[in-house]
Symmetry: C2
Subunit: 283 residues, 2 copies
């Protein structure tokens, strides 16, 4: 990826902060915008960015050749509405959002002629948030999904791919925004919904001392960033509701087999789940 460009990260949270850290380490010229003074101080002190601002940041936007949005979807849309006119033609732009429909088209439409937004999703979230945890993020084992539209150029997509490689992602794929949101509704959002509901269902903290790995693994992701996940769930609610319904049907089927003492039916479900789960052990 080109060393002579200026990379502006807008939003220095867990992922934006990690992008800044890695790119600076690799010798790129990185600037940053954040609403939080303490985040800015942290980023400057650690050398994640060489310059940054919390307001009056027009010069940073105008001086950027590449822009990465590390913002929640709603904040991203607001930011673009207010500031997109500052982005220079020729600028390549991407994001880190966990949902794509509802984000990609409005952002592409808001950008000035000649600036290109290639959406992407680094699937490297954690239970923590904020730049102070960025150093713990590991890109090497995570998926990086590029979600191009017909507005994107081969060069723009290629840049996004080389960004992912530079950041250290081993697995880089392309999906349409709709395919991405369907996939994420299943592999990530449904799992988070289940973990959260398991904790909300009853207050069994007195049973904590009896829990083993199964329970801990299942509910690890029940520690969740409330603001971000409410955003992600609502932006993808059609997919998530449909996944919840499929899952609920399956659980209702199992419940019925229990009521009917249907041993063979239960064993069949166990064999099916065992068989299907094998596919997820291979990478």
């Amino acid at each position: 990826m080109e060393q002579d460009k200026t990379y502006l990260i807008v939003g220095l949270g867990l992922l934006g902060g990690k992008y800044a850290q890695v790119l600076s380490q690799k010798g790129y010229r990185v600037t940053g915008i954040t609403h939080s003074q303490s985040t800015l101080d942290f980023a400057l002190e650690r050398g994640y960015i060489r310059a940054g601002k919390t307001e009056n940041f027009e010069d940073l936007v105008r001086g950027a050749d590449r822009i990465i949005f590390g913002l929640y979807p709603t904040v991203l849309l607001d930011w673009v509405k207010e500031n997109a006119h500052l982005i220079r033609p020729g600028t390549l732009v991407t994001d880190v959002s966990g949902v794509k429909r509802g984000v990609v088209e409005p952002v592409q439409a808001a950008l000035p002629e000649g600036a290109e937004f290639i959406a992407s999703h680094p699937m490297a979230g954690r239970e923590t948030s904020g730049i102070t945890h960025s150093a713990e993020v590991d890109f090497a084992t995570a998926n990086f999904i590029i979600t191009p539209t017909e507005k994107n150029t081969p060069e723009g997509i290629e840049w996004c791919r080389s960004l992912a490689q530079t950041l250290g992602f081993a697995r880089i794929t392309e999906l349409s925004p709709a395919e991405h949101d369907h996939m994420i509704g299943y592999v990530s959002q449904l799992c988070h919904a289940i973990a959260v509901c398991l904790m909300c269902a009853s207050d069994n903290s007195d049973l904590a001392k009896y829990t083993g790995d199964s329970f801990r693994d299942l509910t690890r992701i029940a520690r969740i960033n409330d603001k971000m996940w409410a955003e992600l769930f609502l932006w993808n609610k059609d997919n998530l509701i449909s996944e919840i319904d499929m899952f609920s049907d399956s659980l209702a089927e199992m419940r019925q087999k229990l009521v009917e003492d249907d041993r063979e039916g239960l064993e069949e479900m166990f064999r099916l789940s065992t068989e299907r789960r094998k596919a997820f052990d291979k990478k």
Copy 2:
């Protein structure tokens, strides 16, 4: 625990095999009964037992001072019905069953006068089964639950506790059979039900390449021993159905909040789950 006794393990599966392995390693005299010739051969070759049989095992039962049942509940009840009369007075007996109501009282009633059954549950299951995987089982981090009834003596309970210590369990607790089954319905069975239903809900193996840690952690236990888990679920169906219902209500509540775009309501659930999950991080 007394070195001069003979320990008979009936059922040399994953846990029975592990008991045999550890006790033999520590110098105890261990014998075994299994229906499978290949299991018997394995146990003898590895020195897990010093003698064993697949049939005509009356002498082994009569020669045992301590008996451990490593059998599924239904098999255990059948075995006791047929063979309990062979057990000598003075013999102390325990098991490894994952459900306790429905097992403890019938087994205690079936034993001859003077023999004592102290039920217990080593919570050290894995996704694998069979004696060839016994060596992988780790007792050091697992819970050992003793579920005494009014028929048990302090000496019997104390023996069961010393057995658990000898086997290497760090956390040994006592619960009533009813408390145990309630606890296990939540911390283990509900989790397995959820993982299985997530896999059964839809065939999404084409999405396997996009899954991250969340999904893998959540569904690890979806690889499940069909015969054993159908047993465990059905023996505890009242508790499990009630846990499924509480969980389903919570999931339905989340679904409703999605339908209604209730961002604040979702955030509330996320904060509650985050708060509750913290209790499960402490040991």
